[in-house]
Symmetry: C3
Subunit: 326 residues, 3 copies
């Protein structure tokens, strides 16, 4: 919403004040999901998926329904045509339609568009420029909501902040820790980037812990403490966000890690009140242990439930902006 | 609905009285599909498919619409993430999300959930325990409708009983025959199990005929006559339900069958008024002959049409239960 | 709508008067999309896709929503069962359900059905008889809208005529040119056939230009001028419709073409006011140059936007016919 190109996109942290308003709005809708049942009447949201999705897909549709908006979902890769992202290319390969053309058409069909597009994890420059998202924004000419892009996952981060807000310790600033976790695949940085951006943006203390070589892009972590010793990082944590990501420096690679970084109950011996967060899907007993996921520390289900209200707050805000209310 | 875990699930035969009520309700909605157009307003149904579906998919959506409910369809395997079903496992393989986590999230998003999940046909114990369905029930904490599980297909069976009810012979009990038919693949037992369970539950006479080695699980057939001679079984039949299934004893296998069990017009020489039923999809001229499917004996299209009203009766009943009406 | 089998299908050019009415209706809805927001209330449209689709898929859903109709989309090949098209066959192969059975069921579930089914490009006779479309029409017994069949793409053509109507030159008949363009695959004739059929049906002058060997079926082009010299054909053109198609004579084949038929700005040196049209998706710099697609001549995005109103005009007309209004 503070996107330079437009006041209307929701693709990154929107600044402290708007974020605070969105968190409050999300909590409001959590209590009264159908309060604004007619607010979006006659408005149409297109949800375009270039990658799989469960929570994002369903929560966005529900959020739209709760506001009386129509939504249509398109699995671009499976139901429509393979998209070309390069400008000026001779399209004699596997791609059938240019994003300029498809995006333009979608822009004419919908009032708002939402798009999910994962990074390549091989073309660092393209990913760092959030190429697909930005080409989509340029092509559609309509307010865009990111359903996770190469760089960020802002609807997840807003849901995470709503969750943190509802579990704040009394009378002091919370200690928030973002910890790397093991995985068998090379995963994107988007959730970690976005969580750092929002947590710092909301003026919480943030410690990030990960093996050497797994430093995130400093653009997102400036202001956080980086601590390579996981057990030290976890001391007295109030919130522990667990997430795997691949190397940023050695882009998309997964350099070997000696220690076992999986978060288990014993990792939290010095953080007895710590709540544990994860965006899901999570590979159990690889990323996070059963005991934590099924125990009282876990906020994981609550985060997922808050995805509806995160999306609803954003859609509602965008409706306000387009109709001139504030 | 008589499920031990909850009064709200629809996963098996719900007992004579409720079944009778559902049959009547289905017939009522068949005559007045939009009578209760606002009954489900504000309620949301999630339809989760782990396998393909045509009739079940569409009829359930229409039934929900007819009651004013919102419904959202998710092709779990194609649009979301591959699910892990085993507890306690280290998820370092092909599955991305545990059913506990995905089920919990879906439970938080929807008022009712419906799920389709075919059997493995290789892990007999898992299938006999209806493992996926029951894990889904446990994870979601919401009222569940089976859209066909390893063991049963109750919405199909209710539609079948609605169909039988509307074609009952005058003044006498009908003779119902369930006959095995050939196929080229190893097929589940769910439709046959469920048809037997409901037909017997509705106190109809049921004869089951199949080649030796193709006995169904006795749990579903107790009270039926088993007759290995198809032509003898078909004598004086009023309703002939045709269906292939694989061996239960030699689980999921398809031991060779000498005779041609395909039902054709000549098979019914001693059953001149017999109506023929099948749940669809049907492989023509393998399972059932063109002459029967395209002739006056066939109730197949009527069964499929009744799927809407079967689902509508069940959804309506579940709405009654959740709002405390009866 | 002038289909011999029924007054209700929309599968081909419906005759001058109805076409003119539909064009006007489309332009009306373009200005007032939600004017008839309740007209289709209680009516249900099933959209059945046997092939990928972006514009057709979304524009048809939006058109239905704009008229208050319910619509349900089914990706037949991916979400349901592989269909058998041959009558009398023994179904012991890869197809799971006969179109007679699936079509009958869909006919019982919906008030209107829409279907997309591409040609084989190998079985000329089947394609020339529009086999899948016609079997679907026969099986469903409901009013059918073609979402592109082997032979035609009438919703596209109506959108094209709406577009032409809004860009007609003042005081004279327009010169319309349909030009073949290069491609790397063997493509259907449907868009070209349909564009010719509608343009001639609307009594515009039509010149068709293509390499020798790429003559379209004369059934669709009778009355058009055929000109093998592209640059001559393009002289003084008002509208240039660009499209690839495979050979009709040497059916589905792509005999080599020496010259470069791609339309570029320099191709239009003798047609300074020419507007350029294409149905999308388009392979840029193979079929059409960037300079044209991104320049002021292009009507391509406008055509795509008009797809909503083309579908809306047709659905509205079908609603009139079924309720007896005119």
């Amino acid at each position: 919403m503070n996107n330079p190109a437009s006041a209307f996109h929701f693709t990154e942290f929107p600044g402290f004040e708007i974020a605070q308003k969105l968190i409050e709005s999300g909590i409001f809708y959590k209590n009264s999901p159908r309060y604004d049942l007619h607010k979006g009447r006659g408005k149409r949201l297109g949800c375009i998926f270039l990658n799989p999705s469960l929570r994002t897909r369903i929560s966005t549709q529900i959020a739209a329904e709760n506001l009386g908006m129509e939504s249509i979902v398109l699995n671009m890769d499976k139901e429509a045509w393979a998209l070309e992202m390069e400008d000026g290319t001779l399209m004699n390969g596997n791609t059938v339609e240019h994003i300029k053309d498809a995006g333009g058409v979608l822009g004419s069909y919908f009032d708002f568009l939402a798009i999910r597009s994962f990074p390549t994890l091989s073309d660092k420059e393209a990913d760092m420029n959030d190429k697909v998202l930005n080409k989509f924004i340029a092509a559609t000419g309509k307010p865009i909501i990111s359903l996770e892009s190469a760089l960020r996952h802002p609807l997840q981060s807003l849901a995470d902040q709503i969750t943190i807000q509802q579990h704040l310790p009394q009378g002091r600033k919370p200690k928030v820790v973002l910890t790397w976790a093991p995985h068998i695949k090379s995963l994107p940085h988007a959730v970690a980037n976005s969580f750092a951006e929002w947590t710092l943006g909301m003026k919480h203390d943030l410690t990030i812990t990960h093996p050497e070589g797994y430093e995130l892009d400093e653009k997102f972590t400036e202001g956080a403490s980086i601590e390579y010793d996981q057990s030290k990082a976890l001391e007295d944590a109030d919130f522990v966000y667990v997430k795997n990501w691949s190397s940023f420096r050695n882009y998309g690679k997964t350099p070997p890690v000696r220690d076992n970084w999986m978060l288990k109950e014993s990792s939290l011996s010095q953080a007895k009140n710590a709540k544990v967060m994860h965006c899901l899907p999570v590979r159990r007993n690889l990323v996070l242990s059963d005991e934590i996921l099924d125990g009282p520390r876990s906020l994981v289900q609550e985060q997922a439930a808050n995805r509806v209200f995160s999306a609803q707050a954003v859609l509602s805000h965008m409706l306000d902006l387009t109709t001139g209310q504030k």
